[in-house]
Amino acid sequence: MKHPIRNFTYSAVAAVAATMMIAPASAQKWEPTRPVEFIIPAGTGGGADIMARTIQGIVTKHNLMKQPMVVINKAGGAGGEGFLDVKGSANNPHKIIITLSNLFTTPLATGIPFNWKDLTPVAMLALDEFVLWVNAEKPYKNVKEFIDAAKAANGTFKMGGTGSKQEDQIITEAVQKSTGVKFTYIPFRGGGEVAVQLVGNHVDSTVNNPNEAVAQWRAGKVRPLCVFDNKPLPYKEQIADGKSWADIPTCKSQGLNMDYLMLRGIFMSPKATPDQVNYYVDLFKKVRETPEWKDLMNTGAFNQTFMTGAEYTKWVENEEKRHRDLMKEAGFLASN
């Protein structure tokens, strides 16, 4: 309900302020007028959740937005719940969503009525890396020894990963194709659980994100074999046994022909105006300048590519095509 008197006061004050301050451009800029809902299409405690909550903390601590930011997890149906919610909020500029690869994989695997084109792209915040991990007690020290052991196991080698027909399983499929080795893929609910299953020797290898496995690596429980990127990671700070992220070789250099990066990007509700998109782009630019954000990037060994506008849209388009191809090859597409 609007209060006419208060409204009148506000507009009077605004009019006076506008005449006094010579800043007509800023007066026209769009700004949130209600709390902004920040949807996470994944459960609590995962990579996307941690990133979104960090952003919420940064925005609150540094006062980057006049309205509060509310984080809501909508993880149902492998994130489908969250995507459909934002899709159904056209003309509501107070709703943004953080994405992971399920932006592509969920609609492709389940056939729910959603495509990323239903949403308005805002910005790519970073890309998440993937690393091949084994238990540190195991004898294999490099990719070749690992692949030989997997071959000898004849299909009983267990690869643990997050979710089914999502990024971890797509990478596993690509590794199988590249080497001719067959793995038994076992889906778990979250990256932290996968890391512990590896430490407990219930699975033989994983393709965890750096963030998910770094604690176990520092404790000397797991060993990284290679990173699924085109070039080694830039982070030179020592983590465990005198090694840093930068010392992990790329999988390609080890004969595993696969590279994969996961989008950590922001989209907003359909039919957003350029003004509204620009507001959020500016907001996230400010977020990226804070020390807290830099800490997060460092501990998680993220690829810090930032993109907006047409460049971002083009990147997402290419990724969608790539996921469709990878999933088609693996037989992961929904039958209908």
Binding site: T44, G45, I50, N211, Q216
Partner: protein, 500 residues
């Protein structure tokens, strides 16, 4: 003992006026959050997480963990007073807590629930203090097969224990399994039983089902009985607390057993919900008054509450030492740790001693503060039942609707809650037990997942469930629990003629 020295340093950190104030604030907020069905501890902690970024990590975790303790305490309140469990692990508390309240013994039930919660938590904290590293290593032995074993044991210790015919129990449980399978199949990534209806994508949330089946169903039943004026005998003074306390020490064996079950479930990490059900089931079987369980037996309140709180506390251990949360709330706390720049995992105990021992010290003091806060509220809470039903019923209905809505911010869920309410009414009228149904909804999909993960890793061979001593023992216990009534029947028949 190095640990004891560290602990005392932790106490020194915690006993600062600012931190003590935070504790009281956290506990009171937590109790309120626990009382509102739907707004669980996980949501409460998540909402308040960003507020804590301006504090030191130790103060922040004290505030958040106290909200957690408060929510654990608060969950029992609505279960006992209105038969509406605010949290999954308080479902078992309704079985005897609500009948006690109806007999005018709400004060006793609340006191027993709060006190045994405290005992459970204290036991778990002492265990964390003394054997943390050892216990963390034990948790690593739990793969999918062992986890399935635990769920299997939870189901088995429950079947055949109800007063209803075993087949009705089984039917209710199967209905629960069917409901639990709706939504995304975690193992194949395919949608199941949604019939292209996107509202069903998320499956049936446990809370919606429970608020409907228990809360709304109960109100419908009471209305049919003509708005009976219940609980008017509820006493309104603090003497009831002291009186109940005199009773409690004689149940020490029951408490100890429930503490052990709770700690085990919290660490594995299966969580507080199976712990409370399993503890209730076993208590019913062992207790001399087991036949009377479900009619307002105080032991039926002590058992689940002790185990749930012990599990809830013990669940923080795998979170800190392994980075795997044992409960949804622990998952949010885990996110908080990462944001504060602390990395949960084996190194946390070595690199951030001050933080870890500050947290453990705050568990001791936080629980004492919690007990004081909730016990002083007992007379007040019990007095709520003196309000005429015709006034309180609409209020409960509104509370239920808000709770159902706030689970997913969806009005569809409110409709679902009403549907479950009507279903609950008919199930009660036809004497189908609701507890197995609820148990299956809560644990069904987790059990299914663990079962299929096990079979994947064993290439389809069932022998994985007997592949090592640990999983073999758990499965064996489960089978004994399942066929207990049959076994004891045969036993008494064999023994019968001999003694005759």
């Amino acid at each position: 003992m190095e640990e004891i020295g560290n602990l005392f340093q932790g106490f020194a950190t915690v006993i600062q006026p600012f931190n003590i104030v935070l504790m009281f604030v956290g506990i009171i907020l937590g109790v309120l959050i626990g009382v509102l069905p739907g707004l669980g501890g996980a949501n409460g902690v998540a909402i308040l997480l960003p507020l804590t970024f301006s504090m030191s990590p130790t103060s922040a975790i004290i505030l958040l963990s106290c909200i957690y303790w408060g929510a654990l305490f608060g969950g029992a309140i609505t279960s006992i007073l209105f038969n509406i469990p605010g949290e999954p692990w308080s479902v078992a508390t309704t079985f005897d807590g609500y009948p006690m309240a109806q007999q005018g013994k709400a004060g006793e039930a609340l006191t027993a629930a709060f006190t045994s919660s405290f005992v459970g938590a204290l036991f778990a904290v002492i265990m964390i203090t003394l054997v943390a590293p050892l216990v963390a290593a034990f948790a690593l032995r739990f793969g999918p097969a062992e986890k399935f074993g635990v769920y299997f044991l939870a189901f088995c210790s429950f079947i055949g224990m109800s007063k209803e015919p075993p087949f009705k129990t089984l039917a209710a449980m199967m209905l629960g399994f069917a409901l639990a399978s709706v939504g995304l199949d975690q193992v194949t990534g395919q949608l199941r039983l949604t019939f292209g209806f996107t509202h069903l994508l998320t499956g049936f949330d446990f809370l919606i089902a429970v608020i409907g089946l228990f809360g709304i169903g109960e109100i419908l039943l009471t209305m049919e009985e003509g708005l009976a004026f219940r609980g008017n005998k509820a006493k309104m003074d603090l003497k009831v607390v002291l009186k109940t306390w005199k009773e409690l020490p004689k149940y020490w064996m029951l408490s100890l057993r429930s503490c052990l079950i709770g700690c085990w479930m919290g660490i594995t990490p299966a969580g507080a919900t199976p712990a409370s059900f399993m503890s209730y089931g076993i208590a019913k079987r062992i207790s001399k008054r087991g036949k009377n369980f479900g009619n307002g037996e105080i032991e039926g309140v002590i058992a689940p509450e002790t185990a749930a709180h012990a599990a809830g506390t013990a669940a923080l251990l795998p979170m800190l030492s392994l980075g795997v949360p044992g409960s949804p709330t622990a998952a949010v706390l885990l996110g908080g740790l990462l944001i504060w720049g602390l990395q949960p995992g084996p190194m946390l105990f070595i690199e951030n001693k001050e933080f870890v021992w500050g947290l453990i010290a705050s568990m001791y003091i936080g629980n004492i503060v919690g007990l004081i806060v909730v016990l002083t509220c007992v007379p007040l809470l019990a007095a709520i039942l003196r309000v005429p039903f015709s006034i309180i019923a609409p209020l409960i209905l509104v509370l239920c609707a808000i709770g159902a809505y706030s689970v997913n911010n969806s009005t569809f869920d409110v409709v679902m809650m009403m549907v479950f309410g009507v279903a609950g009414y008919f199930l009660k009228k036809t004497n189908y037990p609701l507890a197995p149904l609820v148990l299956a909804i809560v644990l069904g999909s987790k059990a299914e997942e663990a079962f299929r993960q096990s079979l994947l890793s064993s290439q389809g061979s069932l022998s994985i469930f007997w592949s090592n001593a640990l999983v073999g023992t758990i499965m064996g216990l489960g089978l004994i629990a399942l066929f207990w009534s049959a076994i004891s029947n045969v036993w008494s028949r064999v023994r019968g003629p001999a003694t005759a």
